[in-house]
């Protein structure tokens, strides 16, 4: 999506409002409904999509007028970002609002309004230059070419820094030029990411390493998908061995209800390597008992459409049987290189 179309979409919103007021009508927005009732799991695509219902936000309604104003302001904020080739974080946006007489109760509220703008325009907020604060990192033998203003045509080798490169707006919109890697290995923790860089595991497995840091930002998911699609790299996901880790993988594969209105985020063919319950048993990993929250989460996942397959149900049931969980770092019990030499070697092709 080009910058021009994003600006046009925003301008159109403003024109509708101005025309409507001048004609003596209260402006309204029809926004695709993001409430659970209208979020559907598309079994063919194996991902969440938004249903056909939309909600009307009516500026004449006393209960809507505030969020209506917030939405218009977010749109104008986004337009200013685009016009000036700037980016901003969700947190920045939240704090900026005050200077414009717009009030948000908390950042959760402003994040929600940004979500409304995405739904209204059908464009992800990244298109408008709005990113979350937290950044994932990437490392591997891929050369990217920037498209952001001031860096057009410049390239970057993703092995340039031994700490990995943060995935920000510039990298997200960069085009892959050249690739020596054969797969993408996304890992949950920063510790494991550093370990794999230091031990040159990327070389050994020909992998592009991505550090997720818990549930990854959408920019990261989008980049993983882009590399997967354009370079045809298979995606492997390595997380902690618990329901939360499992779900990180599942969201990369099928998306989440929260971003059901955003396309091009998912990699349905990605593979969750583990740590599985079976791994905990077969590698005799140091583990700890699951808490009530963990067990409850397992039950929730069991009822989640995304887990409605024999493979996933097997993983869930195996955890329920052993009632134990293990972190990625648990492999260190067998020495610092064990995870690379043994575990990854077993699991990766």
């Amino acid at each position: 999506m080009s910058k021009g179309t994003s600006i046009d979409a925003l301008t159109r919103i403003g024109q509708d409002i101005v025309e409507s007021i001048m004609a003596g009508r209260f402006p309204v927005f029809d926004i695709p409904d993001r409430r659970t009732g209208n979020i559907i799991f598309d079994t063919d695509e194996q991902e969440y999509v938004i249903g056909p219902t939309s909600v009307r936000r009516d500026s004449s309604n006393i209960r809507h007028v505030k969020s209506f104003a917030q939405l218009v302001w977010v749109a104008s904020f986004a337009k200013e970002l685009l016009k000036n080739n700037r980016t901003s974080s969700l947190r920045d946006l939240y704090y900026s609002s005050e200077a414009f007489d717009i009030e948000f109760a908390d950042q959760a509220e402003s994040d929600r309004i940004v979500g409304d703008l995405e739904c209204l325009t059908g464009l992800p907020r990244e298109e408008f230059g709005i990113f979350p604060e937290e950044r994932s990192s990437i490392f591997g033998r891929v050369t990217m070419q920037y498209t952001v203003k001031g860096y057009e045509g410049k390239t970057v080798d993703l092995t340039i820094s031994p700490d990995g490169l943060p995935i920000g707006p510039a990298l997200m919109t960069a085009e892959p030029l050249d690739c020596k890697a054969e797969l993408i290995l996304a890992v949950e923790s920063g510790g494991m990411f550093s370990r794999l860089i230091e031990t040159r595991a990327w070389e050994r497995f020909n992998a592009v390493l991505v550090q997720l840091g818990g549930q990854p930002p959408r920019a990261t998911r989008r980049l993983i998908r882009r590399l997967h699609k354009t370079l045809d790299l298979p995606v492997y996901i390595f997380t902690d061995g618990d329901p939360w880790g499992m779900h990180i993988a599942r969201v990369i594969m099928s998306g989440s209800a929260n971003s059901a209105h955003i396309r091009e985020l998912t990699v349905p063919t990605a593979k969750w390597m583990g740590v599985t319950a079976d791994d905990i048993v077969s590698y005799s990993l140091p583990s700890e008992p699951m808490t009530n929250a963990d067990l409850k989460r397992l039950d929730e996942l069991k009822n989640d459409v995304r887990y409605n397959s024999s493979e996933w149900l097997h993983h869930i049931n195996a955890f329920k049987d052993i009632r134990m969980k293990a972190e990625q770092q648990a492999f260190s019990r067998y020495g610092i290189d064990y995870v690379v030499d043994t575990y990854l070697a077993d699991k990766l092709p």
Partner: protein, 501 residues
């Protein structure tokens, strides 16, 4: 003026002047602070009474000048009809000489007020009182008077024409008093007087300060109340005696019919039959015991219609509301009236207004008392209106700490049962108290209705403010988004939504 002699004569042999001076706290001259206030009050009330009788829009000037720390010159002048010159010395120099004993609603009652002020001034400063008054055609007259305390008679120091005085009456007194401590009371008294007498304009000038003006809030001159005959139920032994001995002897029946209201020949015949008294007996022949019997029967017989009330002159809804609206421009105000009812045969009306303001209440509700339009500023605690107010559960009517509730209540009656001659507090007569409670309850219901509608309109106003704030932002950022120069006007749309106008 004919009634004046009626009561006056009975006291001539007693040194009433001395009696009242000794008991001056009874009549409001107990200390140097109260004395200043009472002096002004007596003078202003006399001026108002005089103007009211003559249907004149009162213009009253009050001047207070401090000649030394506690020596004050007080001068009150009015645009009233003045007074017949031959009455001036007695009216100002003789205690219990007054023209207002007639049975109608008046501020002055006792024929005491102004002479007390004269007396107090004389005893504290040794100066005579100066009265300049213009009555009818011809030149005004000036008097300088002192009171012969032992004999309760005026001493005329000077009397003669005054050609420079063109209208009304001007009274000048010197008294020793505490101006600093009475100043607030005086301004409060004048402020409240302008509420109960909205057609009066009163100007207060203290030393070289800029003048303070109270009123006028209305140009409506109230119709002067009619003088009425007493109602039979008000005939206590004293009054009956008085009425009998001051009339020529006549038949009992003729006496009743002539003297009392609501007592025609039929009623009189029936009443005397009930008492088994011969209607043709002469009043002369009645024994003391019979007079007592008749008085008791008159007061208890229930065959008399209720007393006339044309002799009453309440402030009235329009005038009171107008004054209060001017004094409390953003308050909501409701008026209620009760009566006429009677207490011991005296026709009585209670009127009240409730004023709800935004200020933070000190005391809620707070009561402002009037008797026959005279503000009562002292001795509130035992007053019948205070007692009645305290019996009301104001919380029930939504009186809380959010807004100040002021209750203005005026008791109008041909007889105000003051607790003392200082005329500051009304006695707890059960009939008055229960009517006052009923008045407060109606006012309470009005408060409840008002405060919920105030709350509603406040809420609406707040909603509209909020709404238009957000809607303006929508227009502003909408215009910014559309890259148009001018933000479209939102006021019409917002007003249409809230149906303003």
């Amino acid at each position: 003026m004919t009634e004046a002699s009626l009561v006056g004569t009975e006291f001539t042999s007693i040194s009433v002047a001395e009696f009242f001076y000794r008991n001056r706290q009874m009549v409001g001259f107990g200390n140097p602070t109260q004395a200043v206030y009472s002096t002004i009050r007596e003078l202003v009330e006399n001026s108002l009474d005089a103007c009211e009788d003559a249907k004149i829009l009162p213009e009253i000037n009050v001047i207070i000048r401090r000649e030394s720390s506690d020596l004050l010159l007080i001068e009150v002048s009015d645009n009233g009809p003045g007074m017949p010159y031959q009455f001036v010395p007695e009216a100002f120099g003789k205690v219990l000489f007054g023209s207002k004993y007639g049975l109608r609603h008046k501020r002055g009652t006792f024929g005491l007020g102004v002479t007390m002020a004269v007396l107090y001034g004389q005893l504290t400063t040794n100066y005579p009182a100066t009265i300049i008054t213009k009555h009818g055609q011809g030149e005004a007259n000036e008097f300088r008077l002192l009171v012969d305390i032992k004999n309760n008679t005026p001493i005329i120091e000077y009397s003669g024409p005054n050609s420079s005085h063109s209208i009304g009456t001007k009274v000048t007194l010197k008294i020793r008093g505490d101006l600093k401590r009475s100043k607030l009371r005086i301004t409060e008294y004048l402020r409240l007087t302008s509420v109960s007498t909205p057609h009066a304009q009163i100007t207060l000038l203290i030393d070289d300060n800029p003048p303070i003006q109270f009123g006028r809030y209305s140009k409506m001159i109230p119709t002067p109340p009619r003088i009425s005959r007493p109602h039979p139920r008000s005939a206590d032994i004293e009054l009956l005696h008085h009425l009998i001995s001051n009339n020529n002897s006549m038949t009992l029946k003729a006496f009743l019919v002539d003297t009392f209201q609501k007592c025609g020949t039929k009623t009189a015949t029936r009443f005397l039959h009930f008492l088994s008294l011969n209607p043709n007996r002469t009043t002369e022949s009645l024994t003391r015991d019979e007079i007592v019997r008749i008085s008791n029967a008159l007061r208890n017989y229930n065959g008399f219609d209720k007393p006339e009330s044309q002799c009453l002159s309440p402030i009235g809804k329009d005038s009171l509301m107008e004054a209060l609206n001017r004094l409390y421009p953003s308050a909501s105000i409701k008026y209620e009236i009760r009566g006429p009812f009677e207490w011991n045969g005296h026709p009585t009306i209670l009127e009240g207004a409730v004023v709800i303001t935004d200020s933070t209440p000190a005391e809620n509700p707070s009561l402002i008392r009037f008797a026959n339009k005279v503000p009562l500023l002292y001795d509130a605690s035992d007053d019948v209106l205070t007692l009645a107010m305290k019996r009301i559960n104001w919380n029930r009517y939504g009186v809380d700490t959010n807004s100040q509730v002021l209750l203005f209540v005026n008791l109008c009656s041909t007889r105000i049962p003051y607790r003392e001659a200082g005329k500051q507090s009304i006695a707890a007569i059960p009939a008055i108290q229960s009517e006052a409670e009923l008045l407060f309850k109606t006012l309470g219901r009005a408060i409840k209705r008002e405060s919920s509608s105030i709350r509603r309109s406040k809420r609406n106003a707040r909603k509209m403010r909020e709404f238009s704030k957000y809607f303006r932002l929508i227009a502003r950022y909408g215009a910014l988004l559309a890259s148009v120069e001018t933000t479209p006007d939102t006021s019409k749309l917002v007003e249409s939504l809230f149906e303003v106008k």
